[in-house]
Symmetry: C2
Subunit: 278 residues, 2 copies
């Protein structure tokens, strides 16, 4: 784990690291915010999964999350959205919603994606093991994300409730087996077996398995992707059917951008802090 850049921010440290990922079979960058409290001892962490086309930089520079994390004593762990580098497969037409910047937090089983695209395992196991061995983290984790990253956060938490104390999402792709983004990505990465897709669909997982995890979801009502791609109603219906603890908030007038995320990130971090004991 090699330090690329460190910048002081709200009394804490905004840091970018580079490391060789054995899970992804390539070099990766990620960002971390360590709050001032980490100088005194280990702190809990909120993992943030970003959306299509993003790197670790978008959330770091645009969400205003460090201010709140510094108040609450939370670390932020911010991975990239796909494997990267010269040998990594990309969509032949350079589409924004497949390949680089669009890993969808799955373990790909289909060529050419299966050589590198194992973002599910990377975020679930390799990255936490790495940062928890190298940084002042106490091993308590919450997870959140935006759009494709909201999908990733929900799926990771629903399948691994012992790993996270709480999960939240902004405008998540809530039911990817039933939307164009999800169809395209899941068929490419996982092939045509829809049983495999179901393991990466938060609404289907919640309906099938239920969950006792606290879940908070914000969705802008002026989000252009709401009806066709995001479908939070499917998640809500699944939560009701399963008796799960989902708070879905529809926010009038907000779109899909970081202005929306910035407006509500404080609520999300306070929600996680309560469950993390921060």
């Amino acid at each position: 784990m090699q330090l690329v850049q460190e910048q002081k921010c709200f009394g804490g440290r905004q840091i970018r690291y580079r490391h060789d990922s054995h899970t992804l079979n390539c070099g990766m960058q990620f960002s971390v915010f360590l709050p001032p409290q980490a100088e005194q001892g280990p702190v809990p962490a909120v993992y943030w999964l970003s959306g299509l086309t993003c790197t670790d930089e978008n959330f770091s520079s645009k969400a205003g999350a460090q201010r709140v994390a510094a108040m609450l004593g939370l670390a932020l762990i911010i991975p990239d959205t796909s494997p990267r580098g010269d040998g990594v497969a990309d969509d032949p037409e350079g589409a924004y919603d497949l390949g680089l910047g669009a890993g969808f937090y799955v373990n790909a089983t289909q060529a050419p994606w299966n050589k590198h695209y194992h973002m599910y395992d990377y975020v679930l196991s390799e990255l936490p093991a790495l940062v928890e061995s190298e940084l002042p983290l106490n091993g308590k984790r919450a997870i959140s994300g935006h759009s494709m990253g909201g999908h990733g956060a929900l799926v990771l938490a629903l399948r691994n409730p012992e790993r996270f104390v709480s999960v939240s999402a902004f405008a998540p792709i809530s039911n990817p087996t039933d939307c164009p983004w999800g169809h395209k990505a899941l068929s490419a990465y996982l092939g045509e077996d829809q049983a495999a897709w179901a393991e990466y669909d938060a609404s289907l997982l919640l309906k099938a398995k239920g969950s006792s995890l606290p879940m908070l979801v914000d969705q802008g009502e002026a989000d252009n992707f709401l009806a066709e791609q995001l479908r939070p109603q499917a998640l809500q219906a699944a939560a009701e059917e399963a008796g799960a603890e989902l708070e879905l908030r529809l926010q009038p007038g907000y779109d899909h951008s970081y202005y929306f995320i910035a407006s509500f990130i404080e609520d999300h971090l306070r929600f996680h802090a309560r469950h993390l004991g921060a």
Copy 2:
């Protein structure tokens, strides 16, 4: 004044406009944040001048200023950093510190710059007249900025104290007649007559004319440009000599980036709000 984009943010409106500037002799974009209070009636405005290479977008997306502006009932007016467009002169070598993105908030007198580079008049007169006629603003103004924009804010306020109630800056180019960035820009835009340069040097202006304006300046001590380009000591010495009301805060560990600005923007907006009666 044509609306390009509008996005809800912290209950207010983040808006990008386009207009034909007669001062700059080209089409210009700028951004505005209107706080929720502007729905009820006119509000005061803080003008933000950005640094080298920036557009109106950097501050809008990275500073986290809307959260505070929404609390305090302040509008934010965020111009671009130079004239733009096909006919606008640029540095022949595409340097980042001259030409496009580097207008230095002066009225250029030298060819080829004098055809469009009148950012001083644009920010001082045309832009306020435009937004105050079209938007719910009460005509009270404060001004702030970063680096080249900190220079611009200080110069505009020191030369026009009747136009602004307060001025602040992050890492301003405090003494441009005596640093490489300033030498390069002022000689290009104004020619070799150094008496003309002095009209755009905050330290010389303050020393010569004094000021009763409240001034707040933050400077990161880990800023790579501090010693060679920024020279806040010159501003401080001028303030002491003139008996002016400058609070200069040296912030240990902070660099020149938006992480530094985000960390202290709340202090600056609260400072301006007090003087704006917000």
